[in-house]
């Protein structure tokens, strides 16, 4: 039998170094995986250099990090309260549709400030509504939130595709209108918004009563309940918060780089990347902000290689490999593995 023995006196620095080593090993494996698709080693390394050292690629990293970070930061709060929702993917899609409707279909004319804040607010509210549904199913009807949120993602994908190909269809091709130029935001704005959300949630978690309640409930649900915390209120709160931020992510996706939508045969994946980031950052909002930039860079790297035949599914696969490698490394730092 395999036994894990805790090593005494492992410092936090050691754990972080272990995680970084794991990330680097996973990343190297992920780069080598592209060789399966027929990319040359030189090509894979060139694309890697381009990802981190060229202006357009860095702009893409910052832009794509918007929906990823928004999903991830909210999820760190939800996961701390043991609400394992995966609904961020659907919330990003729904938020994107809502923002697109407001800016390209509603006919409302807005100034620069409203034109920026209103879609964020509307998308956030729609995301929070979906979060509310997941929490309602869990608290009132005791439905496992992992499965319910996944089913909801698939339903949202189908409905979004219907809206894109039906009421939103513009012209002979299945593509929607684009967001007018005056509403589009620069890639510089996106990390500013996600950075602000990070600080807000960090403050919420470390300086407020709700943060304390989430922390207490996540660590010891029974004890927290005994001491008078209301578990359903905590679950509803974190579901609304994480849904709101993921919804904002959808708006950032539309305002920041996507501009229009066409039917999706597979999930775009930003919400799922947020799940990976939350795990990679051990549910710490500040670490999640940094990790989402890194995960976003893998997405940009994968896209760069698409012209050389690397498939779309590679991106999430490579990111999952990196997270798995990091978690494994952390376990090996913390524990000694022995055969018994």
């Amino acid at each position: 039998m395999l036994l894990l023995e805790e090593r005494g006196g492992v410092s936090r620095l050691m754990v972080i170094l272990g995680a970084v080593t794991g990330v680097l090993i996973g990343f190297s494996l992920a780069v080598l995986l592209t060789l399966i698709a027929g990319v040359s080693l030189a090509g894979a390394l060139n694309a890697l250099a381009y990802t981190y050292a060229s202006g357009p690629a860095i702009a893409s990293i910052l832009a794509l990090s918007g929906p990823i970070a928004c999903s991830a930061i909210g999820l760190t709060v939800a996961y701390r309260a043991r609400l394992i929702t995966i609904a961020s993917e659907g919330q990003v899609i729904a938020g994107a549709i809502a923002a697109l409707w407001l800016l390209a279909y509603s006919g409302l004319k807005m100034g620069p400030l409203e034109g920026f804040m209103a879609p964020l607010l509307l998308s956030g509210l729609l995301g929070a509504t979906i979060g509310f549904l997941v929490a309602l199913l869990k608290v009132k009807l005791h439905v496992n939130e992992i499965l319910s949120s996944l089913m909801i993602n698939y339903i949202i994908l189908v409905v979004a595709n219907y809206i894109i190909g039906g009421p939103f269809r513009e012209g002979p091709f299945a593509i929607t209108r684009s967001v007018p130029h005056e509403y589009r935001v620069s890639y510089i704005i996106i990390p500013a918004v996600t950075g602000l959300i990070t600080l807000l949630l960090w403050f919420l978690m470390s300086r407020t009563k709700l943060g304390l309640a989430v922390e207490a409930y996540g660590k010891a649900p029974r004890a927290a309940e005994t001491y008078g915390y209301n578990p359903s209120r905590i679950i509803f709160s974190v579901a609304l918060i994480s849904g709101f931020t993921a919804g904002i992510g959808g708006a950032l996706m539309i305002l920041g780089f996507q501009y229009s939508m066409s039917p999706m045969s597979v999930f775009p994946g930003y919400g799922y990347m947020g799940v990976l980031v939350a795990w990679l950052s051990a549910n710490n909002p500040l670490a999640a902000f940094a990790a989402s930039l890194f995960i976003s860079s893998i997405a940009v790297y994968g896209r760069l290689l698409q012209a050389s035949g690397v498939p779309l599914g590679y991106v999430l696969g490579a990111q999952a490999l990196i997270v798995l490698s990091a978690l494994t490394a952390v376990t090996l730092v913390k524990y000694r593995v022995r055969w018994l």
């Binding site: 399966i36 005791h142 439905v143 089913m151 219907y162 039906g166 599914g313 590679y314 696969g317 798995l324």
Partner: protein, 281 residues
């Protein structure tokens, strides 16, 4: 309108969900859950198409799919059963990893292969085995010592360890069997349902529908088979519902909506102690 042919066709449609669900059921009965079914199915599908296109034999392709699912589930086995990483986290990671590797493999150019024709002898054999599987698994779980051991581990891991039951070995075998089953299920989807083609997004959430059927069937092999069959029937009926005037996007969402609704109903029923899931889950 309801004919024998329709019911038989639904069986052919439900087979992959049923095979994957029964494999997952075995693991869940031993007290662990692998959410990676979708990824194991995708990788099984891709490997089976590659193997079939090289060997020209869909039957060897099915075995390739089995091996594919086995490989991905061995990642789960090492990470969760040996290194004690969170099973939920690792399960979801293997979904993405399995799909990514499946797409990469398909990028080598092997995306079309000879199909496993419906109602050919090989296909009939699979359908027969799929029908026999719930009964066999039921006998294994409820009428043999091994089954008692599996269920005991799933009910109370600590007591099982104290009593010297082979917790880790049984779970390892269950996890790898579940992976092989999911791999075959994915291979079946590619070879029969999609006529020998692999494309990105092929599994379309069917792995999740399989996990849903385990819950809907109350962790009982026969119940799980019935649940999986009903979902297969719903998928098959999608074109009929569209012809009846139901908007196509609603028809396409029906299996997911149905599983969601069924989960709600089942969760209400599950309050009674008789219908408890394995407790160490």
């Amino acid at each position: 309108m309801v004919s024998f042919e329709l019911l038989l066709a639904a069986l052919s449609m439900a087979a992959p969900i049923m095979i994957a669900a029964l494999g997952e059921l075995l693991l869940e009965r031993s007290g662990r859950v692998n959410l990676g079914v979708e990824g194991m199915m995708a990788f099984g599908a891709s490997v089976s198409i590659m193997v079939t296109s090289i060997s020209d034999s869909p039957v060897i392709g099915l075995l390739g799919g089995l091996a594919g699912g086995f490989i991905i589930s061995s990642i789960y086995t090492v990470a969760v059963l040996a290194l004690r990483l969170d099973q939920i986290v690792v399960g979801l990671l293997t979904v993405f990893l399995g799909i990514g590797l499946a797409d990469l493999l398909a990028a080598t150019g092997h995306t079309i292969a000879p199909a496993l024709t419906p109602w050919s002898p090989a296909h009939m054999t699979i359908i027969f085995l799929t029908l026999a599987a719930p009964a066999a698994l039921w006998i294994l779980l409820y009428k043999t010592w091994v089954g008692v051991e599996v269920r005991a581990i799933g009910t109370d891991e600590l007591a099982a360890r104290e009593r010297g039951l082979r917790v880790d070995i049984i779970r390892t075998i269950a996890a790898l069997t579940g992976g092989a089953a999911a791999g075959v299920a994915g291979a079946y989807m590619a070879l029969t349902i999609y006529n020998g083609k692999y494309f990105s997004g092929l599994t379309a959430g069917w792995g999740w529908l399989a996990i849903g059927s385990v819950i809907l069937g109350f962790w009982n092999p026969v119940g799980v088979a019935v649940a999986a069959y009903s979902i297969g029937l719903l998928i098959l009926l999608r074109p009929y519902t569209i012809s009846l005037g139901v908007p196509s996007y609603i028809a396409h969402a029906t299996p997911y909506i149905a599983v969601l609704l069924a989960l709600i109903i089942v969760s209400r029923l599950a309050r009674s102690p008789r219908w408890k899931p394995p407790q160490t889950l």
